[in-house]
């Protein structure tokens, strides 16, 4: 149902977008946005608005194409020749891969505000009606009577945030005592009922199959799920401490220049920072930076302490090396 409704909404948005730009389609410039899987609906809503904005600002009618998939797979297809002009991902590492290959400017994180992350989110919990297990914080997730659903950190960026958030919590709770942190993480990981390969799979396990007491995902995603599946059947819990999940954007310089879309690509990403763009993003339950919009949506986003990945493990690169690569900490913690 969820997917279907979303699909309908997307179709409506696409048709709307297409009809707006149809008259001058033939000679219109086309921008290709390569994005992560669950942003399909978000950008279907943003693109037609951007087209109108660009028309108003520059008097030029343009078209925006979207491509969605797992963020790493998307980056790989650009490396292999997909001519995307801009990327809007949920993993800093996936943009960095493109920068390392010379397709994106080395200083891409300085080219746009807030580390080139126009919006952000955090990791939150979705629990069943009335929160029967009394889940409030990360330590509740390591209790014996609680069973969890989140995807495999080996295959899902979303789950890597979950893992690092739990790690950051444990480091703070146990004052960095390595043994205690490892014990906590071992119990936390053992409480997982099903390891799906991606975020949407985990949602299906939790909602459709009724598995687990807590679904862990991005705050934006759990809010959207609750909105789709029933405000009364599920509750969103934002823990008092969690992780900052950035959604980095960048111009794929080489492609944009070759496509003659340099200004358009920059304009597209700039639009995400405008009040209008930020309001659209907040409507999809993403946290934003624009002050007026932040105030407007204040009750939607409970205050919480957000740890940075850099503060927990130094950098994404170190996180991959020390935690997620073959034989590293994650593998060790799951060993029997």
């Amino acid at each position: 149902m969820y997917a279907l409704k979303r699909f309908h909404r997307a179709v409506v948005a696409i048709v709307l977008g297409a009809s707006l730009t149809a008259p001058a389609m033939a000679s219109d410039r086309e921008l290709l946005n390569s994005s992560y899987d669950i942003a399909r609906e978000l950008f279907s809503a943003i693109n037609p608005e951007f087209q109108e904005w660009w028309q108003a600002e520059h008097g030029e009618s343009i078209a925006v194409q979207q491509s969605h998939g797992g963020s790493s797979a998307q980056a790989r297809s650009i490396l292999q020749g997909l001519r995307a002009d801009v990327v809007t991902y949920n993993q800093v590492t996936d943009v960095q891969v493109l920068a390392d290959a010379g397709l994106v400017d080395e200083d891409w994180q300085e080219q746009f505000d807030n580390n080139a992350s126009p919006y952000y989110s955090t990791t939150a919990f979705l629990v069943r009606e009335g929160n029967p297990k009394g889940i409030e914080n990360w330590d509740d997730l390591a209790r014996d009577d609680v069973s969890l659903v989140f995807p495999n950190p080996k295959t899902s960026g979303n789950a890597r945030y979950t893992y690092l958030a739990a790690w950051g919590f444990a480091e703070e709770a146990f004052d960095g005592d390595e043994e205690q942190v490892h014990d906590f993480m071992r119990t936390f990981l053992r409480n997982v009922a099903v390891f799906d390969t991606g975020g949407r799979g985990a949602t299906t396990s939790f909602i459709e199959r009724g598995i687990g007491d807590v679904l862990i995902s991005f705050e934006s995603e759990v809010n959207n799920i609750r909105g789709e599946y029933g405000e009364d059947d599920y509750e969103v819990i934002v823990p008092p401490i969690s992780i900052l999940a950035e959604f980095p954007v960048a111009v794929v310089q080489t492609n944009a220049e070759r496509n003659g879309n340099d200004d358009l690509a920059r304009g597209y990403l700039d639009y995400l920072y405008t009040e209008e763009g930020q309001r659209l993003l907040a409507g999809f339950n993403y946290r934003v930076h624009h002050e007026a919009v932040v105030e407007e949506f204040a009750d939607q986003f409970p205050e919480t302490e957000l740890m940075r990945v850099e503060d927990i493990v130094g950098s994404w690169e170190e996180a991959m090396d020390a935690h997620f690569s073959g034989g590293a900490l994650l593998d060790q913690l799951q060993r029997r």
Partner: protein
């Protein structure tokens, strides 16, 4: 030209439909090289990045070994179940006339045609504790989804056509008169099946079962949604390969894949050799 082709036609070698042995073999070999050997060479090429010690460390990792056991165990169960029911299905399809026979026959190919992910999602929906089947089985203490039983079930689903489609033509070639002759010569039903029918079907049945087993070893899409993917318990080897690929660790993925490849090749080769001997023995002496 005409005399030459005529001489072939009436000569000792029978006339072939396709032109020139050289040309057709050449095309076959090129095709096999492109679709089969090239990727296999690529796989071996990836392995060249590894030292023998690294290779061994990857394929003997505890978690990967646990996945072999889960995969091979579930595939064996699925293959044996398919051997029994596939034989029965082929028998029913060949020896009886009943309404809906064509439909059942066509249904047999469905697992080949259906995207395996669809099969996996459907099975998981049915057998999870709130699904139609799961709701009935759970009170009996039988958990299917997210256990190795679910893995075996998904494997059985995707590989049943192999048994049916290999046994069926052999059974079709065997006239009903053969059973009747056995019965008139005084064999009981059981004896006729065991001593007369089964020996004829045996090579096809073993090949079909072997193919079903090998197919199950490599299955990913159908299983991943019903397996639960818990480390050491319900992780299949294909997932281990997938995880390595996600990490851009192509050599590691190839190393694990080579184990599955080796098991598959060894099994298929063994079946072929055994089959050759079996058929020789069956027709031996008199043939």
């Amino acid at each position: 030209m005409s005399t030459r082709s005529l001489s072939i036609g009436i000569g000792s070698t029978p006339k072939r439909v396709l032109p020139g042995f050289g040309l057709s073999l050449g095309i076959s070999l090129t095709f096999v090289s492109l679709v089969l050997l090239l990727p296999l060479t690529g796989l071996v090429g990836q392995l060249a990045d590894l030292s023998l010690a690294q290779y061994w460390a990857i394929i003997s990792d505890g978690r990967v070994v646990a996945s072999y056991i889960v995969t091979i165990g579930a595939a064996a169960v699925a293959a044996i179940v398919n051997a029994a029911f596939g034989l029965l299905l082929a028998w029913v399809l060949v020896r009886y006339e009943f309404p809906g026979k064509r439909l059942l026959d066509a249904l047999m190919d469905l697992p080949f045609a259906l995207p395996t992910a669809v099969a996996g999602i459907t099975l998981a929906t049915l057998y999870s504790s709130n699904g139609w089947m799961g709701r009935l089985l759970e009170p009996l203490g039988l958990q299917v989804a997210y256990t190795w039983v679910g893995i075996a079930l998904a494997m059985a689903f995707t590989s049943i056509p192999f048994v049916v489609r290999t046994v069926q033509p052999v059974l079709e070639d065997m006239p009903v008169e053969v059973d009747e002759a056995a019965l008139t010569l005084g064999a009981s039903d059981g004896t006729a099946f065991r001593r007369v029918i089964l020996p004829h079907l045996w090579p096809a049945l073993v090949t079909g079962t072997g193919l079903a087993f090998v197919r199950s070893l490599g299955e990913f899409g159908a299983i991943i949604f019903i397996a639960g993917n818990m480390p050491y318990e319900t992780e299949i080897t294909s997932l281990m390969i997938f995880v390595r690929l996600q990490e851009y660790d192509y050599a590691g993925a190839s190393a694990i894949a080579s184990v599955i490849l080796f098991v598959s090749l060894a099994l298929l080769l063994a079946i072929n050799i055994w089959q050759g001997r079996f058929i020789k023995r069956l027709h031996g002496g008199r043939g």
